[in-house]
Amino acid sequence: MDSLTSVILTPVFTAVLLLLIPGNFRVVLRLAAILGSACTAWTAVSFFSRFHAGQEGLQFESLVPWVTVGPLNLAYHVGADGLNIGLILVTGLVGFAAVLVSWNIERHVKLFYVLLMSMIAGAMGAFASLDLFFFYFFNELALVPTFIMIGVWGRGEDRNWAAFKITLYLTLGALTALVGLVAFYVAAGANSLDVIVLKAHLAAHPLSVSAQTWIFPLVVFGFATLVGLFPFHSWAPVGYAAAPTATAMMHAGILKKAGLYAILRMAVPLMPDGAHRWLPVVAVLAVGNLLHCAWVALRQKDMNLLIGNSSLAHMGFAFLGIASLTVIGVTGTVLVMVAHALLAGLSFALSGYLETQTGTLDMTRMGGLLRKMPFYGTALVMGFMASCGLPGFANFAGEATVLFGSWKSLPWLVIIAAWSGLIIGAVAMLRALRAVLQGPEKPEFSRVADLGYWRRLPFVLLLSAMVLFGVAPGILTSRIEPAAKAVVAAHLTPSQAGQAPAVPAAHAAPAASAPGHSGH
């Protein structure tokens, strides 16, 4: 069937299948999980490639009314447009990589894979669904396994504390967002939570400005907690340091983006006045992300904490893009989200593997690992270079777009963002590379083994995706742009709106015989 539901159901079927396999058949379980996540990834890739770029509106849509009781009618409404097609692709890829990387899980293997599959299904559902109720439901579906996984398979002795902290913090955030959503639902009075219906309804009789002014912050700061906006970010590094590799990959890479996606999908387009009032505040807080988290990342000895904090700094870029309220800015944000998902997935996979080999994540104790682990070293260098915004990787394309997009409206923030992204990020990452890979070999880690052939697959997969979107971000931006224009439609000055379609037309001109640029 050509509806997006198939990409949600595949992980669910895999989970059910896994449940049927008896617990002690470890190898069969692993194979089934890999198979399941592989075809999820394949479905996601096929949807992404079959998506018609540059076309407004929804594709692969399917609508199933679920509850129609008086004013409350909820419908399972799924569809793909510029905003979520990239994220669905990336969820598939990172999910597949997460399954591949969790070969070192020994206890309760079956439960682990079932939880991982439900996380993937939750993330897919959250991105695909257009009905806010289902978005919320899938988001929570994806959040619960995080708690269990950190608690059971986590690392470090304070993992219970970390599990509680991350879950309570996120639930608090989700709760505020829920309050906001309910208030919005009541204020809008459109008797439906479906974004499309809401948009049509609000176009006719928009929300009163005062209502928007107090609903918008609830929704935005609620979802921002899920993402890790500055003052609400302290759950992320702690949570990721204690989480097992697969959970950290999925949560840092994918679930964090659900908050941003919701802001872009629901908050900014449907409450333009609220956006106008509150986004400058978000922009200022994003500065906290950019500077504060980057500096904290600088201090970290543990690699996971370093990656966790630097991923928060990247989120600063995403928020900056949203706050710019320009087509380029929002496209940049979506690009940063996609690129960062891949980057976070890759980085946590790398740190996970490093921990299996050296038994520790304390970078100061390591040194000179490049000699023994050449492939891993190269992947680490590429990963960390991508993290400090090296062109050729998708992250640079995203960050550059965000910088260009928000320069006109927020020049000072762009300067700070550029400073944090280019300099502080680079210092932190290079210190890590210097500590881990270069320098004389430490006898303590003499029997460190490089990645076996099978174990290289996830890294090669993620890196090639990052390079593909880095070399040719056009694939992504052509898909994202129409949706981005829709998001900021209310804020576009007529001139900007007019100018927008001009470029895609020119874009249609055939690219020169530049090899290495795959068709789209």
């Binding site: 759950w235 777009t401 260009f404 270069q438 320098g439 931006t477």
Partner: protein, 651 residues
Amino acid sequence: MEHAAVVQHAVESGSKIQDLAWAILILPLVMAFGTAVLTPKNRTLSAAFNISGVVVAFLLSFTLFCVYGGQSVDATPFHWLPVAGLDAEIGLHLDALSTLMLMVVTGVGSLVMIYSTGYMHEDRSYTRFFSTLSLFVFSMLGIVLANNLLMLFVFWELVGVSSYLLIGFWYEKPSAGDASKKAFLTNRIGDFGFMLGILAIWSLAGTLDIAALKAKFVANPALLGPWAGLAGLLIFMGAMGKSAQFPLHVWLPDAMEGPTPVSALIHAATMVAAGVYMLCRLFFLYTATAGWPAALGFLDGVSAATIITCIGGFTALFAAVIAVQQDDIKRILAYSTLSQLGLMVMAVGLGAKTGDASASMYHLVTHAGFKAMLFLGAGSVIHACHHEQDIWKMGGLRSKMPKTFWTFALGTAALAGLPPFSGFYSKDEILAVALEANPIFFGVGVLVTVLTTFYMSRLVLVAFFGKPRGEGADHAHESPSSMTLPLLVLAVPSAFIAWLPLGEFLSGHFKPGHATHGGDILFGPFNHNPIAAVFGLGAVLFGFSLAYSLYGKAPTQDPLSAKLGLLSQAMRNRFYIDEIYDGIVVPLHNLLSQIADAIDRWLIAGLAVRGLSGVVEIAGRALRLVQTGSIQTYAFLFTAGVLLIVLLALK
């Protein structure tokens, strides 16, 4: 070859040129990844592939240079980031500057690669060296051919990363690891300014395409209005990072940690020249009237170009002074590169007044030639003396390594600026421009020439003449032909390139149709601007005689350091700039991150989160008091509840 014929011929072969340009750009990349992925284990094959890639690129660029007509050609761009309002694309721009630079990069690149087959022979990660070098050549070609600012920035960073990989090639050495980190970060600070400059220009001018930008500037010089000066300086910051100008120069001397071929290719000929090349390409920015925003009102009189000239001049002088007291052969050459770059940047700044920066480009080309040769010569010396780099442990290599000696002497003469060799003509052009624009900088130029001749002849006298001082130098023998051949090949251009009408060809680019000085080349400078030529020559002779008087008699240790005492100590430690940086910049960052970490740990994690959970806990503890366990209390609460309900019901 008459221009007219060539021009007409080039037009209908336009598409052929584009494919040629694309081929030149992509070839090294294909070779780099091809060898890295396909033949990592096979040494000779991967070396052969990479070298052939660059050599073919050189041949293509040579044909391109011949086939290419006068006017600039733009290859159809490939839309890299098609977003509304942002025309970021990867396209190629071919004109006098870029075709010449193509030849320099690929030429020096191929020679260095051939040289390194010998130099890196016994190194374990041989293939990784060659693929990284190809990656570097690819990114450098990207800069040369870039037709828009964002693409320039992209390849700017790629060059930064490949220099990081190459400096840190011997990653076991902790000093190499630190040096590569330092190089990348210093470049990044420059790139930070560069990015802000691009953003400023993009938002004010509306386009990223250099040709379009140039057209807009020609049409309306005050396009950027008050921001012109600041934008110009920010763009210059990018050049400062890459061409190691004063505040950001600290990484170049440490970059000598990399293998010598790397130093030759990257830190002598190509990468460091990228900054100067970029300034020449965006020259129109600096010729425009320099306005300043209100905040920087005090700079109103001064134009961006003058600031650039000052920085260039200061770097030249500063580096030359330090070079005088350095002992490591590669460090001397590194500081000499620094000072020559300072000269080029100064020439660009001065050229902004006369509207012609061909002097700096001319010097860039000649400098690439002889400096690469000097570095390769130094490499073969180090290779011969078993990785001995201190000149005071060498000596008497003249008899042991004749070929290396003669090429090295030739390079030194060219660098110092003896007339028949290329250095004299390009430096003379700079002195001429300086004389015409601003006599103070003419003095700086002459002083730098004196110092250059002094430290270069000091190096040659100490290293090649007298008796061998170290056991390494004792049984040094001539390097294998794979190393000396490139030296000989490089000797030709570094000596005689000035005999080609390069100066005229380049100034044609900056001032179309205004032929400066035709006629014979050899004695051109003497009859066009005799003062500059005479002073230049005088400076060389004076410097040489000074050096000879001190080092002629092959002393065992440096007499000058005794004379200068404290000053020589400062010069040896590069005026403690590194220590100052480590003393200020690094602790500042650590302090900031400590504060951030403290805030994160106490304020946010502690206060907010613990506070919240603390409140919940206290509330819990308060409620617990009610559960006293005695049935009486429960009964009492029950009755109180009933009473309340009854009262409420009655009301």
